[in-house]
Protein backbone atom coordinates (compact mmCIF):
# COMPACT_ATOMS: atom_id res chain seq x y z
CA UNK A 1 0.00 0.00 0.00
CA UNK A 2 2.75 2.38 1.00
CA UNK A 3 4.57 1.70 -2.25
CA UNK A 4 1.57 2.27 -4.43
CA UNK A 5 1.31 5.86 -3.23
CA UNK A 6 4.97 6.62 -3.71
CA UNK A 7 5.83 8.90 -6.62
CA UNK A 8 7.85 7.51 -9.54
CA UNK A 9 11.57 8.32 -9.65
CA UNK A 10 11.07 10.60 -12.64
CA UNK A 11 8.73 12.84 -10.64
CA UNK A 12 11.13 12.92 -7.72
CA UNK A 13 13.94 13.99 -10.06
CA UNK A 14 11.74 16.70 -11.58
CA UNK A 15 10.82 17.96 -8.11
CA UNK A 16 14.48 18.14 -7.17
CA UNK A 17 15.23 20.10 -10.35
CA UNK A 18 12.41 22.57 -9.69
CA UNK A 19 13.57 22.97 -6.08
CA UNK A 20 17.08 23.73 -7.34
CA UNK A 21 15.69 26.35 -9.74
CA UNK A 22 13.72 27.98 -6.91
CA UNK A 23 16.39 27.90 -4.21
CA UNK A 24 19.67 28.39 -6.12
CA UNK A 25 19.05 32.09 -6.94
CA UNK A 26 18.31 32.82 -3.27
CA UNK A 27 21.56 31.15 -2.19
CA UNK A 28 23.48 32.82 -5.00
CA UNK A 29 22.16 36.24 -4.00
CA UNK A 30 23.02 35.74 -0.33
CA UNK A 31 26.54 34.70 -1.30
CA UNK A 32 26.98 37.60 -3.74
CA UNK A 33 25.97 40.10 -1.07
CA UNK A 34 28.66 38.89 1.32
CA UNK A 35 31.75 38.50 -0.89
CA UNK A 36 34.30 41.22 -1.62
CA UNK A 37 34.18 40.79 -5.35
CA UNK A 38 31.40 38.90 -7.10
CA UNK A 39 33.32 38.05 -10.24
CA UNK A 40 36.05 36.43 -8.13
CA UNK A 41 33.54 34.63 -5.93
CA UNK A 42 34.23 33.27 -2.45
CA UNK A 43 37.99 33.41 -3.10
CA UNK A 44 37.87 37.19 -2.66
CA UNK A 45 36.80 36.77 0.96
CA UNK A 46 33.69 37.60 2.93
CA UNK A 47 32.72 41.12 3.92
CA UNK A 48 29.90 43.12 5.48
CA UNK A 49 31.02 46.19 3.55
CA UNK A 50 28.21 46.03 0.97
CA UNK A 51 25.58 45.58 3.63
CA UNK A 52 26.95 48.67 5.37
CA UNK A 53 26.84 50.65 2.15
CA UNK A 54 23.27 49.58 1.45
CA UNK A 55 22.25 50.50 4.96
CA UNK A 56 23.75 53.95 4.53
CA UNK A 57 22.09 54.62 1.17
CA UNK A 58 18.82 52.78 1.54
CA UNK A 59 18.36 52.08 5.24
CA UNK A 60 15.47 54.53 5.38
CA UNK A 61 13.43 52.53 2.88
CA UNK A 62 13.30 49.60 5.30
CA UNK A 63 11.67 51.63 8.06
CA UNK A 64 9.28 53.35 5.68
CA UNK A 65 8.16 50.07 4.14
CA UNK A 66 7.44 48.63 7.58
CA UNK A 67 5.61 51.78 8.72
CA UNK A 68 3.56 51.89 5.50
CA UNK A 69 2.61 48.23 5.82
CA UNK A 70 1.58 48.78 9.43
CA UNK A 71 -0.51 51.85 8.56
CA UNK A 72 -2.02 49.89 5.68
CA UNK A 73 -3.09 47.16 8.11
CA UNK A 74 -4.51 49.77 10.51
CA UNK A 75 -6.44 51.50 7.73
CA UNK A 76 -7.78 48.15 6.58
CA UNK A 77 -8.93 47.33 10.11
CA UNK A 78 -10.77 50.63 10.47
CA UNK A 79 -12.37 50.61 7.00
CA UNK A 80 -12.42 46.94 6.08
CA UNK A 81 -13.72 45.12 9.15
CA UNK A 82 -16.99 47.12 9.56
CA UNK A 83 -17.46 47.00 5.79
CA UNK A 84 -17.00 43.21 5.79
CA UNK A 85 -19.69 42.99 8.45
CA UNK A 86 -22.09 45.20 6.49
CA UNK A 87 -21.55 43.19 3.30
CA UNK A 88 -21.99 39.89 5.13
CA UNK A 89 -25.30 40.97 6.66
CA UNK A 90 -26.80 43.01 3.87
CA UNK A 91 -29.05 41.37 1.29
CA UNK A 92 -29.30 44.41 -0.95
CA UNK A 93 -28.23 44.37 -4.58
CA UNK A 94 -26.08 47.45 -3.97
CA UNK A 95 -24.02 45.52 -1.46
CA UNK A 96 -23.33 42.76 -4.01
CA UNK A 97 -22.39 45.36 -6.62
CA UNK A 98 -19.99 47.09 -4.24
CA UNK A 99 -18.44 43.75 -3.27
CA UNK A 100 -17.81 43.07 -6.95
CA UNK A 101 -16.33 46.53 -7.58
CA UNK A 102 -14.12 46.27 -4.51
CA UNK A 103 -12.27 43.25 -5.95
CA UNK A 104 -11.46 45.00 -9.23
CA UNK A 105 -8.18 46.61 -8.07
CA UNK A 106 -6.82 43.08 -7.60
CA UNK A 107 -7.81 42.01 -11.11
CA UNK A 108 -6.71 45.22 -12.80
CA UNK A 109 -2.89 45.58 -13.08
CA UNK A 110 -1.38 47.85 -10.42
CA UNK A 111 0.13 50.03 -13.11
CA UNK A 112 -3.36 51.05 -14.31
CA UNK A 113 -4.61 51.87 -10.79
CA UNK A 114 -1.49 53.93 -10.20
CA UNK A 115 -1.96 55.88 -13.44
CA UNK A 116 -5.56 56.55 -12.45
CA UNK A 117 -4.50 57.88 -9.04
CA UNK A 118 -1.88 60.14 -10.61
CA UNK A 119 -4.42 61.47 -13.13
CA UNK A 120 -6.90 62.25 -10.36
CA UNK A 121 -4.64 63.57 -7.61
CA UNK A 122 -1.24 64.16 -9.17
CA UNK A 123 -1.70 67.92 -9.05
CA UNK A 124 -2.25 68.06 -5.29
CA UNK A 125 1.42 68.61 -4.54
CA UNK A 126 1.29 68.09 -0.78
CA UNK A 127 -0.53 64.78 -1.16
CA UNK A 128 1.41 63.65 -4.23
CA UNK A 129 4.76 64.12 -2.53
CA UNK A 130 3.89 62.41 0.74
CA UNK A 131 3.86 58.78 1.76
CA UNK A 132 0.07 59.12 2.09
CA UNK A 133 -0.14 58.85 -1.70
CA UNK A 134 1.53 55.45 -1.64
CA UNK A 135 -0.49 54.41 1.39
CA UNK A 136 -3.74 55.15 -0.41
CA UNK A 137 -2.61 53.03 -3.36
CA UNK A 138 -1.65 50.13 -1.10
CA UNK A 139 -4.96 50.33 0.75
CA UNK A 140 -7.08 50.28 -2.39
CA UNK A 141 -5.16 47.20 -3.52
CA UNK A 142 -5.31 45.35 -0.19
CA UNK A 143 -8.83 46.24 1.00
CA UNK A 144 -10.53 43.39 -0.90
CA UNK A 145 -8.26 40.83 0.76
CA UNK A 146 -9.25 42.02 4.23
CA UNK A 147 -12.96 42.37 3.39
CA UNK A 148 -13.13 38.92 1.76
CA UNK A 149 -11.29 37.12 4.55
CA UNK A 150 -13.18 38.74 7.41
CA UNK A 151 -16.49 38.79 5.52
CA UNK A 152 -16.60 35.03 5.12
CA UNK A 153 -15.96 34.66 8.87
CA UNK A 154 -18.87 37.01 9.64
CA UNK A 155 -21.16 34.86 7.50
CA UNK A 156 -21.05 31.85 9.82
CA UNK A 157 -24.45 30.86 11.22
CA UNK A 158 -23.24 30.41 14.82
CA UNK A 159 -22.23 34.03 14.75
CA UNK A 160 -25.72 35.19 13.82
CA UNK A 161 -27.22 33.38 16.82
CA UNK A 162 -24.47 34.70 19.08
CA UNK A 163 -25.25 38.20 17.88
CA UNK A 164 -28.96 37.65 18.42
CA UNK A 165 -28.34 36.37 21.96
CA UNK A 166 -26.26 39.42 22.81
CA UNK A 167 -28.98 41.65 21.40
CA UNK A 168 -31.71 39.97 23.43
CA UNK A 169 -29.60 40.56 26.53
CA UNK A 170 -29.75 44.27 25.76
CA UNK A 171 -26.28 44.88 24.34
CA UNK A 172 -26.01 47.96 22.14
CA UNK A 173 -24.62 47.63 18.62
CA UNK A 174 -21.22 48.97 19.64
CA UNK A 175 -21.09 46.52 22.55
CA UNK A 176 -22.12 43.61 20.32
CA UNK A 177 -19.68 44.54 17.58
CA UNK A 178 -16.61 45.11 19.73
CA UNK A 179 -17.46 42.70 22.55
CA UNK A 180 -18.88 39.73 20.69
CA UNK A 181 -18.45 39.88 16.93
CA UNK A 182 -14.88 41.10 16.57
CA UNK A 183 -13.46 38.63 19.13
CA UNK A 184 -15.33 35.84 17.37
CA UNK A 185 -13.76 36.58 13.99
CA UNK A 186 -10.34 37.47 15.41
CA UNK A 187 -8.50 34.62 13.64
CA UNK A 188 -9.85 35.84 10.29
CA UNK A 189 -8.87 39.42 11.14
CA UNK A 190 -5.35 38.27 11.99
CA UNK A 191 -5.11 36.24 8.78
CA UNK A 192 -6.36 39.21 6.76
CA UNK A 193 -3.93 41.60 8.47
CA UNK A 194 -1.02 39.27 7.76
CA UNK A 195 -2.00 39.06 4.09
CA UNK A 196 -2.31 42.85 3.87
CA UNK A 197 1.06 43.38 5.57
CA UNK A 198 2.84 40.95 3.24
CA UNK A 199 1.24 42.44 0.13
CA UNK A 200 2.07 45.99 1.16
CA UNK A 201 5.71 45.28 2.04
CA UNK A 202 6.39 43.68 -1.35
CA UNK A 203 4.19 45.93 -3.51
CA UNK A 204 6.05 47.39 -6.50
CA UNK A 205 3.72 47.70 -9.50
CA UNK A 206 1.73 50.57 -7.98
CA UNK A 207 4.47 51.93 -5.78
CA UNK A 208 7.00 52.55 -8.51
CA UNK A 209 4.54 54.91 -10.25
CA UNK A 210 3.39 56.56 -7.03
CA UNK A 211 6.76 57.17 -5.39
CA UNK A 212 8.83 60.35 -5.53
CA UNK A 213 12.56 60.68 -4.79
CA UNK A 214 11.64 61.49 -1.20
CA UNK A 215 9.10 58.70 -0.76
CA UNK A 216 10.84 55.42 -1.49
CA UNK A 217 9.89 52.01 -0.20
CA UNK A 218 12.09 48.93 -0.01
CA UNK A 219 11.02 47.42 -3.38
CA UNK A 220 11.46 50.82 -5.04
CA UNK A 221 14.96 51.12 -3.58
CA UNK A 222 15.72 47.58 -4.77
CA UNK A 223 14.76 48.43 -8.35
CA UNK A 224 16.83 51.58 -8.10
CA UNK A 225 19.91 49.76 -6.83
CA UNK A 226 19.58 46.98 -9.43
CA UNK A 227 19.48 49.50 -12.22
CA UNK A 228 22.43 51.64 -11.23
CA UNK A 229 24.74 49.77 -8.89
CA UNK A 230 27.13 46.87 -8.72
CA UNK A 231 25.88 43.33 -8.41
CA UNK A 232 27.30 43.14 -4.85
CA UNK A 233 25.16 46.11 -3.75
CA UNK A 234 22.03 44.68 -5.35
CA UNK A 235 22.68 41.35 -3.65
CA UNK A 236 23.39 42.92 -0.28
CA UNK A 237 20.16 44.92 -0.57
CA UNK A 238 18.26 41.73 -1.42
CA UNK A 239 19.87 40.19 1.64
CA UNK A 240 18.56 43.10 3.73
CA UNK A 241 15.07 42.28 2.45
CA UNK A 242 15.56 38.62 3.37
CA UNK A 243 16.91 39.26 6.87
CA UNK A 244 14.65 42.16 7.86
CA UNK A 245 11.33 41.39 6.23
CA UNK A 246 11.17 37.59 6.33
CA UNK A 247 11.68 37.29 10.12
CA UNK A 248 8.94 39.90 10.57
CA UNK A 249 6.62 37.87 8.35
CA UNK A 250 7.51 34.64 10.14
CA UNK A 251 6.98 36.28 13.53
CA UNK A 252 3.57 37.55 12.48
CA UNK A 253 2.70 34.14 11.08
CA UNK A 254 3.61 32.54 14.41
CA UNK A 255 1.37 35.01 16.24
CA UNK A 256 -1.41 34.21 13.76
CA UNK A 257 -1.08 30.48 14.34
CA UNK A 258 -1.02 31.08 18.09
CA UNK A 259 -4.22 33.12 18.02
CA UNK A 260 -5.93 30.58 15.81
CA UNK A 261 -5.02 27.78 18.22
CA UNK A 262 -6.25 29.61 21.29
CA UNK A 263 -9.23 31.14 19.63
CA UNK A 264 -10.34 28.52 17.15
CA UNK A 265 -13.92 27.41 17.23
Amino acid sequence: MRNARQAPALLVALTALVALFMIAPIALSVMAGLVNNYSLGLKSGLTLRWLGEVWENYGGTVGWSLVLALLCVLGNLVLGVPCAYALARSRSRWARLFEELLTLPVAVPGLASALALILAYGTLQGFRQSFAFILVGHMVFTLPFMVRTVGSAFQKNELRSLEEAARSLGASFAQRFLGVLVPAVLPAIVAGSLMVFTLSVGEFNLTWMLHTPLTRTLPVGLADSYASMRIEIGSAYTLVFLIVILPVLWGLQAIGTFIEKHHGT
Binding site: A4, M22, F98
Partner: protein, 272 residues
Protein backbone atom coordinates in the same frame (compact mmCIF):
# COMPACT_ATOMS: atom_id res chain seq x y z
CA UNK B 1 -34.59 48.56 17.00
CA UNK B 2 -38.01 47.54 16.00
CA UNK B 3 -37.67 44.69 13.57
CA UNK B 4 -37.38 40.97 13.91
CA UNK B 5 -34.74 38.48 12.71
CA UNK B 6 -31.04 38.79 13.36
CA UNK B 7 -30.38 41.33 10.61
CA UNK B 8 -29.10 44.63 11.99
CA UNK B 9 -30.97 47.76 10.99
CA UNK B 10 -30.29 49.47 7.69
CA UNK B 11 -28.73 52.65 9.13
CA UNK B 12 -26.28 50.55 11.16
CA UNK B 13 -25.21 48.61 8.07
CA UNK B 14 -24.88 51.80 6.06
CA UNK B 15 -22.79 53.39 8.79
CA UNK B 16 -20.50 50.32 8.82
CA UNK B 17 -20.01 50.35 5.07
CA UNK B 18 -19.86 54.12 4.54
CA UNK B 19 -16.17 54.74 5.36
CA UNK B 20 -14.97 51.98 3.04
CA UNK B 21 -17.39 53.04 0.30
CA UNK B 22 -16.27 56.67 0.54
CA UNK B 23 -12.59 55.71 0.50
CA UNK B 24 -13.01 53.35 -2.42
CA UNK B 25 -15.09 55.81 -4.41
CA UNK B 26 -12.60 58.63 -3.88
CA UNK B 27 -9.41 56.71 -4.49
CA UNK B 28 -10.33 54.08 -7.02
CA UNK B 29 -13.71 54.55 -8.69
CA UNK B 30 -13.27 58.24 -9.44
CA UNK B 31 -9.65 57.94 -10.62
CA UNK B 32 -10.49 54.95 -12.81
CA UNK B 33 -13.48 56.79 -14.27
CA UNK B 34 -11.11 59.60 -15.23
CA UNK B 35 -8.71 57.06 -16.72
CA UNK B 36 -11.53 55.51 -18.75
CA UNK B 37 -12.59 58.92 -20.05
CA UNK B 38 -9.10 60.16 -20.92
CA UNK B 39 -8.55 58.50 -24.33
CA UNK B 40 -11.86 59.97 -25.58
CA UNK B 41 -10.34 63.45 -25.38
CA UNK B 42 -7.92 62.45 -28.13
CA UNK B 43 -10.63 60.93 -30.29
CA UNK B 44 -12.45 57.63 -30.05
CA UNK B 45 -9.86 55.87 -32.18
CA UNK B 46 -7.42 56.15 -29.24
CA UNK B 47 -9.32 53.38 -27.46
CA UNK B 48 -8.43 51.00 -30.28
CA UNK B 49 -4.81 52.09 -30.67
CA UNK B 50 -3.69 48.70 -29.39
CA UNK B 51 -5.31 47.08 -32.42
CA UNK B 52 -4.51 49.70 -35.03
CA UNK B 53 -0.86 50.43 -34.24
CA UNK B 54 1.47 47.61 -35.21
CA UNK B 55 3.87 48.36 -32.35
CA UNK B 56 1.23 48.18 -29.62
CA UNK B 57 -0.42 45.16 -31.19
CA UNK B 58 2.90 43.36 -31.25
CA UNK B 59 3.51 44.23 -27.60
CA UNK B 60 0.05 42.93 -26.70
CA UNK B 61 0.49 39.69 -28.64
CA UNK B 62 3.93 39.13 -27.14
CA UNK B 63 2.54 39.64 -23.64
CA UNK B 64 -0.37 37.29 -24.33
CA UNK B 65 1.90 34.62 -25.80
CA UNK B 66 4.41 34.85 -22.95
CA UNK B 67 1.68 34.77 -20.29
CA UNK B 68 -0.06 31.78 -21.85
CA UNK B 69 3.21 29.86 -22.20
CA UNK B 70 4.16 30.65 -18.60
CA UNK B 71 0.71 29.63 -17.35
CA UNK B 72 0.88 26.32 -19.16
CA UNK B 73 4.40 25.53 -17.95
CA UNK B 74 3.54 26.58 -14.40
CA UNK B 75 0.45 24.40 -14.26
CA UNK B 76 2.23 21.31 -15.61
CA UNK B 77 5.31 21.70 -13.38
CA UNK B 78 3.28 22.87 -10.37
CA UNK B 79 0.90 19.92 -10.62
CA UNK B 80 3.68 17.33 -10.99
CA UNK B 81 5.75 18.80 -8.14
CA UNK B 82 2.67 19.37 -5.96
CA UNK B 83 1.45 15.80 -6.37
CA UNK B 84 4.93 14.46 -5.68
CA UNK B 85 5.32 16.54 -2.53
CA UNK B 86 1.85 15.60 -1.33
CA UNK B 87 2.65 11.88 -1.40
CA UNK B 88 6.34 11.68 -0.68
CA UNK B 89 7.25 11.63 3.01
CA UNK B 90 10.84 12.53 3.82
CA UNK B 91 12.92 14.48 6.30
CA UNK B 92 12.85 18.21 5.74
CA UNK B 93 9.67 18.04 3.67
CA UNK B 94 8.03 20.87 5.59
CA UNK B 95 11.21 22.95 5.26
CA UNK B 96 11.36 22.31 1.52
CA UNK B 97 7.71 23.29 1.13
CA UNK B 98 8.23 26.54 2.97
CA UNK B 99 11.38 27.31 0.95
CA UNK B 100 9.48 26.65 -2.28
CA UNK B 101 6.66 29.01 -1.27
CA UNK B 102 9.01 31.67 0.11
CA UNK B 103 9.15 33.64 -3.17
CA UNK B 104 5.42 34.40 -2.80
CA UNK B 105 6.41 37.33 -0.60
CA UNK B 106 9.21 38.58 -2.90
CA UNK B 107 8.59 41.72 -4.93
CA UNK B 108 8.83 41.11 -8.69
CA UNK B 109 12.01 43.20 -8.90
CA UNK B 110 13.87 40.64 -6.78
CA UNK B 111 12.85 37.89 -9.18
CA UNK B 112 14.18 39.95 -12.07
CA UNK B 113 17.47 40.39 -10.22
CA UNK B 114 17.66 36.63 -9.61
CA UNK B 115 17.52 36.08 -13.37
CA UNK B 116 20.38 38.56 -13.78
CA UNK B 117 22.38 36.54 -11.25
CA UNK B 118 21.59 33.36 -13.19
CA UNK B 119 21.72 34.49 -16.78
CA UNK B 120 23.29 37.95 -16.88
CA UNK B 121 26.73 38.85 -18.18
CA UNK B 122 28.30 37.98 -14.82
CA UNK B 123 25.78 35.20 -14.22
CA UNK B 124 26.15 31.63 -13.05
CA UNK B 125 25.21 30.14 -16.41
CA UNK B 126 27.77 32.33 -18.19
CA UNK B 127 30.48 31.05 -15.82
CA UNK B 128 29.40 27.44 -16.25
CA UNK B 129 29.15 27.60 -20.03
CA UNK B 130 32.55 29.27 -20.23
CA UNK B 131 34.07 26.56 -18.04
CA UNK B 132 32.61 24.01 -20.44
CA UNK B 133 34.19 25.84 -23.35
CA UNK B 134 30.94 27.06 -24.89
CA UNK B 135 31.56 30.78 -24.46
CA UNK B 136 29.66 33.06 -22.09
CA UNK B 137 25.95 32.32 -22.52
CA UNK B 138 23.55 35.05 -21.40
CA UNK B 139 19.78 34.95 -21.49
CA UNK B 140 18.59 37.27 -18.72
CA UNK B 141 17.44 40.18 -20.85
CA UNK B 142 15.60 38.32 -23.60
CA UNK B 143 12.55 36.12 -23.93
CA UNK B 144 14.19 33.21 -22.07
CA UNK B 145 15.02 35.41 -19.09
CA UNK B 146 11.49 36.79 -18.91
CA UNK B 147 9.96 33.34 -19.29
CA UNK B 148 12.11 31.88 -16.49
CA UNK B 149 11.52 34.90 -14.26
CA UNK B 150 7.73 34.69 -14.72
CA UNK B 151 7.95 30.94 -14.09
CA UNK B 152 9.91 31.67 -10.92
CA UNK B 153 7.26 33.90 -9.38
CA UNK B 154 4.34 31.74 -10.59
CA UNK B 155 5.56 28.32 -9.46
CA UNK B 156 5.31 28.87 -5.67
CA UNK B 157 1.58 29.57 -5.91
CA UNK B 158 0.94 26.54 -8.14
CA UNK B 159 3.07 24.22 -6.00
CA UNK B 160 1.32 25.32 -2.79
CA UNK B 161 -2.13 25.02 -4.36
CA UNK B 162 -1.53 21.60 -5.91
CA UNK B 163 0.18 20.21 -2.81
CA UNK B 164 -2.88 21.17 -0.76
CA UNK B 165 -5.33 19.89 -3.37
CA UNK B 166 -3.49 16.61 -3.96
CA UNK B 167 -3.17 16.08 -0.21
CA UNK B 168 -6.92 16.19 0.22
CA UNK B 169 -7.65 13.99 -2.78
CA UNK B 170 -9.72 10.89 -2.23
CA UNK B 171 -7.18 8.05 -2.04
CA UNK B 172 -9.87 5.37 -2.23
CA UNK B 173 -10.83 6.32 -5.74
CA UNK B 174 -7.28 5.79 -6.89
CA UNK B 175 -6.91 2.50 -4.98
CA UNK B 176 -10.11 1.31 -6.60
CA UNK B 177 -8.90 2.26 -10.07
CA UNK B 178 -5.57 0.53 -9.45
CA UNK B 179 -7.13 -2.62 -8.08
CA UNK B 180 -9.24 -2.78 -11.23
CA UNK B 181 -5.97 -2.87 -13.17
CA UNK B 182 -5.75 0.70 -14.37
CA UNK B 183 -2.32 1.81 -15.53
CA UNK B 184 -0.54 4.85 -14.11
CA UNK B 185 -1.56 6.94 -17.11
CA UNK B 186 -5.20 5.91 -16.84
CA UNK B 187 -5.21 6.80 -13.16
CA UNK B 188 -3.70 10.16 -13.97
CA UNK B 189 -6.18 10.81 -16.74
CA UNK B 190 -9.35 9.47 -15.14
CA UNK B 191 -8.77 10.22 -11.45
CA UNK B 192 -6.27 13.03 -11.03
CA UNK B 193 -7.23 15.29 -13.91
CA UNK B 194 -10.95 15.53 -13.06
CA UNK B 195 -10.26 15.93 -9.34
CA UNK B 196 -7.76 18.71 -9.94
CA UNK B 197 -9.70 20.48 -12.70
CA UNK B 198 -11.21 23.21 -10.51
CA UNK B 199 -7.85 23.88 -8.85
CA UNK B 200 -6.19 24.05 -12.25
CA UNK B 201 -8.67 26.54 -13.63
CA UNK B 202 -8.55 28.86 -10.62
CA UNK B 203 -4.77 28.68 -10.31
CA UNK B 204 -4.28 29.08 -14.06
CA UNK B 205 -6.40 32.23 -14.10
CA UNK B 206 -4.38 33.89 -11.34
CA UNK B 207 -1.06 32.89 -12.86
CA UNK B 208 -2.15 34.24 -16.24
CA UNK B 209 -3.49 37.50 -14.77
CA UNK B 210 -0.36 38.01 -12.68
CA UNK B 211 1.88 37.37 -15.68
CA UNK B 212 -0.07 39.81 -17.86
CA UNK B 213 0.26 42.61 -15.30
CA UNK B 214 3.77 41.83 -14.03
CA UNK B 215 5.73 45.07 -14.12
CA UNK B 216 8.54 44.83 -11.58
CA UNK B 217 10.20 41.77 -13.09
CA UNK B 218 10.11 43.05 -16.66
CA UNK B 219 11.28 46.47 -15.44
CA UNK B 220 14.35 45.01 -13.72
CA UNK B 221 15.25 42.96 -16.77
CA UNK B 222 14.51 46.08 -18.90
CA UNK B 223 13.77 43.58 -21.54
CA UNK B 224 14.58 43.55 -25.21
CA UNK B 225 11.34 41.61 -25.45
CA UNK B 226 8.75 44.29 -24.80
CA UNK B 227 5.69 43.43 -22.72
CA UNK B 228 2.56 45.58 -22.39
CA UNK B 229 3.21 46.92 -18.85
CA UNK B 230 6.60 48.22 -20.04
CA UNK B 231 4.99 49.76 -23.14
CA UNK B 232 2.46 51.55 -20.90
CA UNK B 233 5.19 52.73 -18.57
CA UNK B 234 7.26 54.09 -21.48
CA UNK B 235 4.29 55.88 -23.03
CA UNK B 236 3.52 57.50 -19.70
CA UNK B 237 6.96 58.48 -18.41
CA UNK B 238 9.13 58.81 -21.50
CA UNK B 239 6.66 60.25 -24.00
CA UNK B 240 4.08 61.79 -21.61
CA UNK B 241 1.46 60.18 -23.84
CA UNK B 242 -1.18 59.91 -21.12
CA UNK B 243 -4.19 59.11 -23.33
CA UNK B 244 -2.36 56.23 -24.96
CA UNK B 245 -1.06 54.92 -21.65
CA UNK B 246 -4.65 55.02 -20.38
CA UNK B 247 -5.98 53.23 -23.46
CA UNK B 248 -3.37 50.46 -23.17
CA UNK B 249 -4.06 50.16 -19.43
CA UNK B 250 -7.75 49.68 -20.15
CA UNK B 251 -6.95 46.89 -22.61
CA UNK B 252 -4.64 45.19 -20.12
CA UNK B 253 -7.14 45.58 -17.28
CA UNK B 254 -9.97 44.16 -19.36
CA UNK B 255 -7.98 41.07 -20.32
CA UNK B 256 -6.86 40.21 -16.79
CA UNK B 257 -10.26 40.95 -15.28
CA UNK B 258 -11.95 38.79 -17.91
CA UNK B 259 -9.59 35.85 -17.22
CA UNK B 260 -10.34 35.99 -13.49
CA UNK B 261 -14.07 36.49 -14.07
CA UNK B 262 -14.37 33.49 -16.41
CA UNK B 263 -12.51 31.21 -13.99
CA UNK B 264 -14.76 32.35 -11.15
CA UNK B 265 -17.88 31.75 -13.23
CA UNK B 266 -16.81 28.30 -14.39
CA UNK B 267 -15.20 26.85 -11.29
CA UNK B 268 -17.19 28.77 -8.70
CA UNK B 269 -14.09 29.33 -6.60
CA UNK B 270 -12.57 32.64 -5.67
CA UNK B 271 -9.63 33.36 -7.85
CA UNK B 272 -7.48 35.03 -5.21
Amino acid sequence: MGHGGSAPSRPVLLACAAPAVAFFAAFWLLPVALLLALPAAKGWATYFAVLTHARYLQSLLQTLGLSLAVTLATLVLGALVGITLARQRFHGRALLLSLLTLPLSFPGVIVGFFMILLGGRQGLVADLSEALGAGRTTFAYGLTGLFLAYLYFSLPRAIATYTAAAGSMDAQLEEAARSLGASRWRVARDVWVPELAATTLACGAIVFATAMGAFGTAFTLSAKFEVLPITIYNEFTNYANFALAASLSITLGLITWLALWVSRRVSGTTAF
